[in-house]
C-alpha cells in the first residue's frame, strides 16, 4: 500500500523542550487516522512536520515519497488554516478561490460551499463570520484541491452538535471516496466516530497505535461505579479506584461482578455500569507516571 506520509524517528526540540521524541509514523493511503493526546503532547508539532511547516530537529519526514518543503509534494495535500488566521477582509468565495488557484482541478466554489453548509455566505467577509462558520470555512478549504491526504487539526472545536455531525459526514464521504485523513481532536467521541486507527501521543512519544478496538481493549471492557463502605476482595476486578465511599472497578464481566456484590450481601447503592470508552483508555495511557508504550500495531510492547 502506498504510504502518503511518514515520519522516521522524528524528534523536534524547542530550545530545551522536547516536543516530539523519536516518533515514527506511517500514514498509508485510504486510512482515517485519529491523533489523540493531552494539550502539549506534541500533536500539533507532528501535524506541522508533515506539511513542512517545521523541520524535525533530527529524523526524517516524508510526504508523498519526498521532502515536504518541495512545493510539488504538497499538490495532493489539504490542510486547515486556524480560524483566527483567515484574512478578515477577504470574502468567503475569495478565500476559497485563492486556495483553489493553487490546484490543477479544484472543486467548484459553489459545490464546496454547499458541502460545508456555507451557501449564501459567499459575499460575506471572513472577519464577519461566526466562529462556527469560520471553522467550517477553514475545513472546507482543506478539501478544495481534491487532495489525497487531508490534515485536520481540531476540525470541530467550537461547532454545535448539528454542524459537527454535518462535518463528520463530509469527512466520512471523503474517506469513502478513497481519501486519507489525519485528524486531531479534543473530543474522543469524534475520534471514536470517525477513526479506524488511533495513535495516542503523550509527552512527545507514541503511547499506543492500533485500531480503535485495540486501543479500547487496553482497559477492561466495563466500568462499574458504586457507593459502599469497604469492599472485600472481588473476583475479576482488574483495576480499581477509591474515593471515600465511591468505588470505581474495571472488569471484563460486569454481570458476574454485580452478582458477587449481591450474593455477598454488600450494602451498595448508586450502581452504574458503563462500557469503558476510548476516553478511559486514553486517560489510563496518559495518566501521570505511565511510562509504558502500550501497543504498537496491536502488539503489546514496552
Amino acid at each position: 500500500m502506498e504510504i502518503l506520509a511518514r515520519t522516521v524517528q522524528a524528534t523536534r526540540c524547542y530550545g530545551p523542550v522536547i516536543a516530539l521524541d523519536g516518533v515514527s509514523l506511517d500514514v498509508p493511503a485510504g486510512q482515517l487516522l485519529g491523533l489523540l493526546g493531552p494539550n502539549g503532547a506534541g500533536k500539533t508539532t507532528l501535524l506541522q512536520l508533515l506539511p513542512g511547516l517545521r523541520r524535525p530537529t533530527s529524523g526524517t519526514v516524508e510526504l508523498f515519497g519526498g521532502y515536504p518543503r518541495d512545493a510539488a509534494r504538497r499538490r495532493r495535500l489539504g490542510c486547515t488554516p486556524q480560524e483566527t488566521g483567515l484574512p478578515p477582509t477577504l470574502r468567503v468565495h475569495e478565500v476559497v478561490e485563492f486556495v483553489a488557484g493553487h490546484f490543477a482541478d479544484p472543486v467548484p466554489t459553489p459545490e464546496l460551499l454547499e458541502q460545508f453548509g456555507l451557501t449564501g455566505l459567499e459575499r460575506r467577509q471572513s472577519g464577519g463570520l461566526s466562529g462556527g462558520q469560520k471553522r467550517r470555512l477553514t475545513v472546507a478549504v482543506a478539501f478544495v484541491g481534491r487532495p489525497d491526504l487531508v490534515l485536520l487539526d481540531e476540525p470541530t472545536t467550537g461547532l454545535d452538535v448539528e454542524a459537527r455531525h454535518a462535518l463528520w459526514d463530509a469527512v466520512r464521504r471523503y474517506h469513502q471516496g478513497g481519501g486519507t485523513v489525519v485528524l486531531t481532536s479534543h473530543y474522543l467521541e469524534e475520534v471514536e466516530a470517525l477513526a479506524e486507527r488511533v495513535v495516542v501521543i503523550d509527552q512527545g512519544r507514541v503511547r499506543a497505535d492500533g485500531t480503535l478496538a485495540d486501543v479500547r481493549s487496553l482497559v477492561p471492557a466495563r466500568r462499574v461505579r458504586l457507593r459502599a463502605p469497604d469492599l472485600p476482595e472481588l473476583a475479576g476486578v482488574e483495576r480499581s479506584n477509591r474515593d471515600g465511599d465511591r468505588h470505581e472497578l474495571w472488569t471484563a464481566d460486569s454481570d458476574a461482578l454485580v452478582r458477587q456484590l449481591v450474593t455477598m450481601g454488600i450494602p451498595f447503592r448508586d450502581l452504574e455500569v458503563a462500557t469503558a470508552s476510548l476516553e478511559e483508555a486514553f486517560l489510563a495511557l496518559t495518566a501521570p507516571g505511565t511510562q509504558t508504550v502500550a501497543l504498537i500495531d496491536g502488539e503489546l510492547a514496552r
Binding site: G52, A71, L77, P81, G85, G101, H102
Partner: protein, 252 residues
C-alpha cells in the same frame, strides 16, 4: 514547479494581497494620498510652482516620497503584520514555493505606488508648470525603480525582522528624517551646507537626484550613483538576511 505556474501563482498572490489591503480604505488613503496632499499644500501655493524646472523637480521629489511610504508601510509594516497571522503559515502548506509570495508582494507594492503616483502626476500637470515630455517617461520610470529598490529592501528588512509594533515605530521614525533629509519635501538647494553634506549620503537623496535628473535633465551629482548602489547593496543584504532569519526561526 514550472515557470508558467510560478508566474500564474505570483499573479494570484498579488491579486488577493491587493484586495486584502484595498478593503482597509484608511491604509490606502494614508500611503497613496499623502504625496498628493503634500503637493496641494506645499507646492501648488508657492510661486515656484509656475516655474517648469522647479515644479517638475518638486513633483519628482514627491514621487520618490510615494515610493518610500509604500516601501516602509506596505512592505515594512504590512509584512510584519502578516507574519503575525496564522494565515501566512497556512499559505506555506499550499503547493507554491516562496517565490510566488514574494513576487506577489512586490507586484502588490508596485500597484500601490502607481495608485499614489496617478493623482500626484495628474494634479502636478493640472495645477503646476511641471512637465514631463513623453520621451522622458521610460527613463523616469526606470529612475523611480532604481530609487525605490533600496527603500523597498529596507521595508522588507523591517517587515521580516520585527514585530508589528516595532515595525510601525521604526517605519514612522525613518519616514520623516529620510524624507526631509533626502530633500523630498524641501528642495536640497535650500539646505545649509552641513545638512547638504549629510543629505548626500542618504538613499532618499540619491534617489531624488536620480529621478530629478531623469525628469528635468539637470546634471546628476557625482556621488549619486555610488551612494544609491551602496544603499542598494546594503539594504538588499539586510532584506535577504531578515527573510532567511525569519524562515529559520519560524519554519525550522
Amino acid at each position: 514547479m514550472s515557470t508558467s505556474t510560478n508566474v500564474r501563482l505570483a499573479g494570484l498572490h498579488a491579486r488577493y494581497q491587493f484586495v486584502e489591503t484595498v478593503r482597509v480604505p484608511i491604509a490606502v488613503i494614508g500611503t497613496t494620498l499623502f504625496p498628493t496632499l503634500s503637493l496641494l499644500f506645499f507646492i501648488v501655493p508657492q510661486s515656484f510652482a509656475q516655474d517648469p524646472a522647479a515644479a517638475t523637480a518638486a513633483t519628482a521629489q514627491l514621487a520618490v516620497f510615494a515610493v518610500m511610504s509604500v516601501s516602509l508601510f506596505n512592505y515594512g509594516v504590512g509584512v510584519a503584520e502578516e507574519r503575525a497571522l496564522p494565515w501566512d503559515g497556512y499559505t506555506r502548506t499550499l503547493p507554491a514555493g516562496p517565490s510566488p509570495r514574494l513576487v506577489g508582494r512586490l507586484l502588490n507594492g508596485l500597484a500601490f505606488v502607481i495608485l499614489g503616483l496617478v493623482p500626484l502626476v495628474l494634479l502636478a500637470w493640472l495645477l503646476t508648470a511641471a512637465t514631463l515630455p513623453p520621451s522622458r517617461l521610460a527613463l523616469t520610470a526606470a529612475a523611480l525603480l532604481a530609487a525605490g529598490f533600496p527603500l523597498f529592501a529596507i521595508g522588507i528588512g523591517i517587515g521580516y525582522s520585527m514585530s508589528t509594533k516595532a515595525a510601525l515605530a521604526v517605519a514612522q521614525s525613518l519616514l520623516l528624517p529620510l524624507a526631509f533629509g533626502g530633500g523630498l519635501f524641501l528642495p536640497p538647494e535650500t539646505f545649509p551646507g552641513w545638512l547638504n553634506s549629510i543629505s548626500m549620503w542618504l538613499p532618499t537623496r540619491a534617489g531624488r537626484d536620480l529621478v530629478v535628473t531623469a525628469t528635468t535633465g539637470v546634471d546628476l551629482p557625482g556621488p549619486t550613483v555610488f551612494v544609491l548602489g551602496g544603499w542598494t547593496l546594503l539594504a538588499g543584504s539586510l532584506a535577504v538576511w531578515a527573510y532567511r532569519r525569519d524562515e529559520g526561526r519560524r519554519f525550522r
